[in-house]
């Protein structure tokens, strides 16, 4: 696969993908999913539903036992994980698995360096990435001198700097305070505005409803609900959500109780109430 053009994200397709871990746990069970370039997708589900397993197939860390993973129609199987990293950057849930460099600067440089970026381009990327996560000015800080939530933001910055057409975030909001959650939401929207495909694995329903154009609900290795937040959190889908051990966010519940249709976010509920009052 050739080096990606920064502005054209590939279409992603999972075609009947099955994956079982060595211990015998079947994490993906004949999963089908198609993601168009530039979409923002939140993959939600309880722990063990296969969400993280799914995204690790996108950058080649895991390979399907059966079925195929396709980027722009081409099977990714023959491509090394290190090369897929140029297409799909994945920020892990636990930042301590990634952080190793003496300081923030080296940490954020690691990814783009591996992709061959040098010099002024590298500095610019590092600066922009740290700015996006609110860590500008911390270039010389040692990662392990920072608290857990800031380490998490640092890990995200180190992937942002790779400027991959597909950006994948694994549970980016867990352990974050209000400011951290807002930062993560902002950078999702900024990345989407640049035309990147943004995929987040999350069990934060509000985050999913507010920042993503599409919500994919997983349960036992399969997709059970798939659509816009309004579609997924509509009342008629609640039984399926509950079967997946998830609850719709409060605005959706309030909107349903008031008979206002599907209002998955605060803004939607406010708009619906205003419309009703007119």
């Amino acid at each position: 696969m050739t080096a990606p053009d920064r502005t054209s994200a590939p279409a992603i397709e999972f075609d009947g993908v099955t994956f079982t871990y060595a211990g015998g746990t079947r994490a993906l069970d004949g999963l089908d999913l198609r993601i168009e370039p530039g979409e923002t997708v939140a993959i939600v589900g309880q722990n063990g539903s296969g969400k993280s397993t799914l995204v690790k197939h996108l950058n080649g860390l895991l390979r399907p036992d059966s079925g195929r993973v396709l980027l722009d129609g081409r099977d990714v199987r023959p491509v090394h994980a290190a090369r897929l990293a140029a297409l799909a950057g994945l920020a892990f849930q636990n930042p301590d698995r990634q952080l190793f460099a003496g300081n923030v600067r080296s940490e954020v440089e690691f990814g783009p360096r591996n992709l061959g970026v040098r010099g002024r381009d590298l500095d610019a990327r590092v600066g922009a990435a740290l700015e996006a996560v609110g860590l500008a000015g911390e270039l010389e800080t040692n990662a392990y001198d920072m608290g857990y939530s800031r380490r998490k933001l640092l890990a995200i910055a180190s992937v942002l700097a790779m400027r991959t057409p597909i950006l994948i975030l694994d549970e980016p909001t867990t352990g974050q305070d209000a400011r951290g959650v807002a930062l993560v939401g902002g950078l999702v929207e900024a990345a989407a505005a640049e035309g990147r495909t943004v995929i987040a694995v999350s069990h934060d329903m509000r985050f999913a409803a507010e920042r993503f154009g599409r919500v994919v609900v997983m349960r036992a290795g399969r997709v059970v609900v798939d659509g816009t937040p309004a579609e997924v959190f509509a009342e008629k889908r609640w039984p399926e959500l509950r079967a997946a051990n998830l609850e719709p966010p409060l605005p959706a519940v309030a909107g349903a109780r008031l008979g206002l249709g599907s209002t998955p976010t605060d803004a939607a509920l406010v708009a619906a109430v205003r419309a009703r009052n007119r």
Binding site: L61, A81, A82, L90, D96, Q98, L99, F110, V159
Partner: protein, 272 residues
């Protein structure tokens, strides 16, 4: 929330469950861990002190028998496989560079493997595999907490017990952790399948998170242990401990005497 009186403990109608006092089955498995270790020590000494093929072959026969009886053959095979790079390098070194060997098998230009080299290489490899199997058998057939409980019963302090237990656990956990770290760094473009010098550069990005992760965990784990009264004085209560019989004690003494006898015989030249 209303203030509640602290309720008394309920009467003990449930005792220690079976799965805690579980008995393992099989003669060898049920042996006290100290006995297994004593036997393994004797076997190791025999492998190395008795010259020629006799020592290794005798122990190999014993190990094979016990492995079959305890059905640990497959796990032993895996360990043998793990030792295969070492075996291969032993064979190569001995085949081609055994000093003083003068009986070549064939010539291929300047390279000439020798029969003596082959013989000696096979002997050394067999010794290696046999002694590691003897030790591995003791390890594979003893659940860690049996070993710890036994050590505790013999008076090893709780810190010692904990260090041993945690260290044993640390190996699989570290392996798992290294796997996760490797995944995370590959996701940032680190090349693990390419040229060797590139992979050498991967050492720090792989090793550092292991170390840092372990260190940051240490403080939290220390506090968690303190929160469980780990540093309380006195002897730790044992919920269970493997039994030790007089016959096993006798067996251990015999093994120790035999071990010393073999060593003495070897050192004094009696074994040649």
């Amino acid at each position: 929330m209303p203030r509640t009186r602290r309720p008394a403990l309920p009467p003990v109608d449930r005792g220690l469950p079976d799965y805690v006092t579980r008995r393992t089955s099989g003669f060898y498995r049920e042996l006290n861990p100290a006995t297994k270790l004593a036997l393994a020590a004797l076997e190791v000494v025999v492998v190395f002190a008795v010259p020629g093929w006799l020592g290794p072959l005798v122990v190999l026969a014993i190990v094979a028998g016990v492995a079959a009886a305890t059905r640990t053959g497959r796990e032993l095979a895996v360990i043998g496989l793990a030792a295969s790079p070492l075996v291969i390098s032993i064979m190569v070194v001995n085949l081609f560079v055994l000093p003083g060997a003068a009986d070549p098998i064939f010539h291929a230009g300047p390279i000439a493997p020798t029969w003596s080299g082959l013989w000696f290489g096979l002997l050394t490899s067999t010794r290696l595999l046999t002694f590691s199997s003897a030790v591995a058998l003791a390890y594979l057939t003893t659940p860690v907490d049996d070993l710890l409980a036994d050590m505790s019963r013999r008076g090893l302090g709780r810190r010692g017990v904990f260090v041993v237990g945690a260290s044993v656990q640390m190996v699989p956990r570290t392996i798992e952790r290294v796997g996760e770290i490797m995944d995370a760094q590959r996701a940032r473009g680190m090349d693990t399948e390419g040229r060797i010098w590139r992979r050498a550069r991967a050492v720090v990005p792989l090793a550092a998170p292991v170390v840092f992760g372990a260190l940051t965990e240490v403080e939290e784990r220390t506090m968690a242990l303190e929160a469980r009264a780990f540093t309380a004085p006195g002897r730790q209560t044992l919920l269970r401990a493997p039994a030790d019989r007089a016959s096993e004690r006798a067996l251990r003494w015999l093994a120790l005497i035999a071990l010393v006898a073999v060593l003495v015989a070897r050192v004094s030249g009696r074994l040649g």
